[in-house]
């Protein structure tokens, strides 16, 4: 049950040494968005459901954690747990509604539902409206690990990320995951085999939403900020882009995509090209869809299969 592949070991090793070579906050951002994109990819890549509303879960995780940690003085681990559960509950609600429709309608329903959450956070008194919640304390993990230390924070994020990675890996390779793939490949056939397809989609949606919430909660502690932009539809689009660019339906693709997008954003926002950020994101979308549908990891795997097997 606990098979560790070579690529997982490399990933863990890279994760352990990364903060000594790269700016830790940057790597933490990549890990948070990587987890977010992997959660999203569980739906798109393995069930074939394109959710255009995942920002709602990222935002919910962030706001709930931020509020609890800042206003009630909850410890960071409980704050993250509550944020994750809140996103999961919202996912249960939204998922129940969204799985009633398929394909393009599914995308539109999730987008509209996420907008509902966005307007709630815009108007709710505790979120700070357009300014967001600022100055959220990182606190002390389990009461003795001081998270204001950037390396402590980093390794906490790494553990959370690896947990998410493990859970998704485990889900995909379980019998449950096989049924998800069967639904993706041929839904009528899965129905005729007696599977209650909508329930499977629903559970996958809840897992995906919870992990997106976990990413949002973690991100809030890292940046000590819960902002409205996390719940905006732009963020839903960004996670689609990360997954598409990295390679949908591959395990590591979303992480690679997230790293690429975060790198591009960091690079652009520093220089004069900052204004071009949306244009470049849009261009990447168009190029990916027209010529690069397997994404970076997908193309790499194809290349390896062609030449080395």
């Amino acid at each position: 049950m606990f098979k560790i592949s070579k690529s997982t070991l490399i990933l863990v090793a890279l994760g352990l040494i990364a903060p000594y070579f790269l700016y830790p906050v940057f790597v933490m951002k990549v890990l948070c968005f990587g987890l977010f994109a992997m959660a999203f990819n569980l739906l798109l890549g393995y069930v074939g459901l394109l959710s255009f509303g995942h920002a709602a879960f990222l935002g919910t995780g962030g706001y709930v954690t931020g509020y609890l940690v800042m206003e009630t003085g909850l410890s960071p681990e409980l704050g993250i747990l509550c944020g994750t559960i809140a996103a999961g509950l919202l996912g249960a609600l939204y998922g129940k509604l969204a799985v009633k429709r398929e394909g393009i309608y599914f995308a539109m329903v999730t987008l509209a539902l996420a907008q509902l959450a966005f307007f709630f956070y815009l108007q709710a008194p505790f979120t700070g409206g357009e300014n967001g919640m600022q100055g959220i304390p990182r606190g002390e993990l389990f009461g003795f690990i001081d998270l204001s230390d950037s390396l402590n924070m980093y390794y906490t994020v790494l553990v959370i990320f690896l947990f998410g990675f493990w859970l998704i890996n485990r889900t995909i390779h379980s019998p449950f995951g096989q049924i998800l793939k069967a639904i993706r490949e041929n839904e009528p056939r899965a129905v005729s085999l007696g599977y209650n397809v909508n329930d499977y989609k629903w559970v996958a949606f809840i897992i995906s939403a919870s992990l997106a919430g976990l990413a949002g909660s973690t991100k809030t502690l890292v940046f000590q900020l819960a902002s409205l932009s996390d719940a905006h539809w732009h963020m839903s689009g960004e996670v689609v882009l990360m997954t598409l660019l990295g390679g949908m339906g591959t395990l590591l693709g979303p992480l690679v995509g997230a790293a690429s997008v975060v790198t591009i954003q960091n690079y652009l926002s520093g220089g004069e090209l900052g204004n071009y950020i949306h244009i470049i994101m849009g261009l990447i979308f168009v190029v990916c869809v027209l010529a690069f549908r397997s994404g970076i990891v997908g193309e790499f795997q194809k290349f390896m299969r062609k030449n080395f097997s």
Binding site: L111, W233, F285
Partner: protein
Amino acid sequence: MASLFDINVFGLFGQLLIGLINGSFYALLSLGLAIIFGLLKIINFAQGALYMLGAFMAWMVLQYFGINYWAALFIVPLAVGLIGVIMERFLLRRISNEDHLYSLLLTFGIALILQGVFTHIFGSSGLSYKIPAELKGGFKLPFMYLPTYRAWIIVVSLLVCGLTWYMIEKTKLGAYLRAGTENPKLMQAFGINVPLIVTLTFGFGVGLAGLGGVLAAPIYSVSPYMGADLLIVVFAIVVIGGMGSIGGAILTGLAMGILEGLTKYFYPEASTTIIFVVMVIVLLLKPSGLFGKEA
């Protein structure tokens, strides 16, 4: 007591009018989406950005070439339609055999590019476009004041929606279109140029968004993101109505605009979310949408 009642009536009709105007734009956009969906089976995520493009084009042709509102009302939808034709012919057609989700992502990318370009050139604060002199002023009705331009928007959009409905449901061209929706292969076997019809349909659907943009320019601030937020509401409307019928798209659009106006009057806090709430209720009771066919 009487005066209080008067104010209420004024406020109520004022909000109803705003609702009807919003509904006109919802109807124009969801009609365009429904027409495109019928033949191409895709949802055009760039519809909102093209609506924005229409508004900016109206502003630009006036500013740079001195072309007035009346000419823009014809030129701009044609130009936006032409851009749609190019989009379909050179981008969307290349992936027409792939999963439709890819087309959706492609149009989303195009929307980001358009919004990014206009934000870069004009900033995000918004420009203003003057109401043409002929449509200034208004009528004093017994229960409210009706600005001429607002009445004009409602009349034009109802007229365009009605004509489109007539064209699709009652003419030979419309019959081709509906037949293409049902069975494109059979149509092609009868010697009808289906790819051309698909391209022109996309151009027409997009042109409706462009027309919406020109109509909106004088009353809303012309800004790069004016279409994006509108489009999400239109998506909810499309889910509510279902895309099975052209008439359904128009009716749902208008009805939701009016409902939004009423909500703004009776319970303003919910006015931004009421349409999404209706969507949730429709999903619970009739998932295929009010006018949708069972999938």
